[in-house]
């Protein structure tokens, strides 16, 4: 079949188009484009079906595994696709590795090396226990993240734009240094012993929970990353869509309770707002995908309640867990929670979009 490629401005992207087998997949097409254009390797290509002009719909992105035939509606011999260059790409693993490496190296630098000399402080080494524990906690956290990047996570998109490397590294490295500066400062004022223990204890529990969430998410997908989006179930996922973000946020809260710096709390607020946005988007995406039609399971209905709790001020939306019973999803869920209302009522289980859970 003949494939015509146009750029988003309508110009023909490859003169004369490309000839492909009728049974070719999108991946084959991407290879063919790469052969012709050298510069545009497959992960840089974004192929979409043309959208009628004036339509506000989002264009359909071609899935590399599907056959080209699946995208021809009617005319089996020719297909017109819109091409977009996504720019130089890096694998997610590369991106995550470098953004996490910064904090892992910079924080200990503030602890071990006499950096405060350059800020005008004479280097007196009275180190409070909390500063040492904070070092271990912080380094464990980023070490865990790097390990998960290589051994746990299964990414749905293999790559990310190169520009994200600079943006993300700036974010992590700057905040890492900013927090490290204050926690390891010669004039650091530690909190009480009990507060420190509560903070770190809570944080460690949340980190373990976070790790377990990542394992659950990993098991939703096959090793080659295919499997796309699935409904996460079990553990905290029965309550919130992005339990991994919830545990991550609370883990940082634990760190801040123990170390008590404005820098740490600023980071907490920023990170929470970023993750909340992601959680909302993911929740919306899963709800849209799992609409109950065509044999797809229906996504457990979200709670619409924006609970009135103080965390609202962080921009985090807090959910009230509305315990309702009896749907096949509930039965299928590995947590196996019991319905709280009589099965007669047959209300679908609710699940919150929001990455924070607080029982108000």
């Amino acid at each position: 079949m003949k494939v015509t490629l146009v750029s988003r401005s309508g110009r023909e992207f490859i003169k004369g188009g490309l000839e492909l087998n009728d049974s070719a997949t999108v991946a084959d097409l991407q290879e063919a484009i790469h052969k012709r254009t050298k510069k545009f390797y497959p992960s840089r290509q974004r192929l979409t079906l043309p959208v009628p002009s004036g339509s506000r719909e989002r264009p359909v992105v071609l899935n590399y595994k599907k056959n080209l035939k699946d995208y021809c509606d009617g005319n089996e011999n020719s297909l017109t696709l819109v091409f977009k260059d996504l720019g130089p790409q890096v694998s997610y693993r590369t991106l995550f590795f470098f953004e996490y490496l910064g904090p892992l190296i910079l924080y200990p630098a503030f602890y071990y090396f006499p950096v405060y000399k350059f800020f005008g402080y004479e280097e007196k080494r009275v180190i409070h226990p909390v500063q040492t524990y904070a070092l271990y906690y912080w380094c464990f956290h980023y070490f865990k993240r790097i390990m998960e990047t290589f051994f746990v996570h299964r990414f749905s998109h293999a790559t990310s734009p190169l520009s994200n490397v600079f943006r993300n590294c700036a974010y992590y490295w700057s905040f890492g240094s900013y927090i490290a500066y204050y926690v390891n400062h010669p004039l650091y004022t530690p909190v009480g012993d009990l507060q420190m223990k509560i903070g770190f204890g809570f944080g460690v529990v949340c980190q373990l929970a976070n790790f377990y969430c990542h394992i659950i998410l990993k098991n939703l997908r096959s090793p080659d990353g295919s499997g796309g989006y699935q409904i996460p179930r079990g553990f905290l996922f029965n309550i919130v869509t992005c339990a991994n973000y919830t545990t991550e946020i609370y883990q940082w809260l634990g760190f801040n309770i123990a170390t008590q710096t404005v820098a740490g709390y600023v980071f907490l607020v920023v990170a929470t707002s970023i993750m909340t946005n992601w959680a909302l988007a993911k929740h919306r995406r899963l709800k849209k995908l799992f609409d109950g039609k065509d044999g797809r399971p229906k996504y457990p209905r979200s709670s619409s309640a924006f609970s009135h709790c103080l965390l609202r001020d962080f921009g985090c939306l807090v959910s009230r867990r509305s315990a309702i019973a009896c749907s096949e999803t509930l039965v299928a869920s590995s947590a196996g929670a019991q319905p709280l209302l009589s099965p007669r009522l047959w209300l679908p289980r609710r699940r919150s979009a929001y990455s924070i859970v607080l029982y108000c």
Binding site: Y182, V183, H185, L187, Y188, T189, T259, Q260, T261, V262, A263
Partner: protein, 221 residues
Amino acid sequence: MASAFTVLRRLYLFIYNWIVFIGWFQVLFLALKTLKESGHEHVYNAVEKPLLLAQSAAVLEILHGLIGLVRSPVSTTLPQIGSRLYLTWGILWSFPEIRTHVLVTSLVISWAITEIIRYSFFGMKEAFGFAPSWHLWLRYSTFLVLYPTGISSEVGLIYFTLPYIKASEKYCIRMPNKWNFSFDYLNAAILALGIYVPGSPHMYRYMLGQRKRALSKSKKE
């Protein structure tokens, strides 16, 4: 129902723009008058009250953008207003030693002319639904000169205030404290100077783009 809101919105914006216009007109008038009569050292004292009022009123514009009363993107109004408020309150009002500097005069006059044109332009649009083409031209052309003069004055004033900032320890929070926080106003000022380096070309380019759009659109009509 919807039209009642539109009328209210137009009325409010009309009043807002013309009041602030009067404020800036006062600033320009007093600045030029004092410059002629007493010299540049006294310009700040003459314009202080209307300047503080008119410049601070600009905070409302961030609100207007946020609640959708006007269409200006918050991304360009925020740095613009931020730098103005920083200069007005954080430099001029906080450090009297700098008030007699000649750059204060160039700053105040650049700001005043720009704002007079801008506020009367929006005032006209809210009142009559349009503004004459010469007005449009002024609004989108005077920045070509006034942005460089204004920005240079801002940068210069911040720079010359640095020794006073260092000596005074004003607005500084020192360690140790319960929240393990510190803030050094001198470093913040140096950082602010640094932001001007990418920030000024960005704002200038944004205005050039606006100019192209506005003037070509009027040609089409």
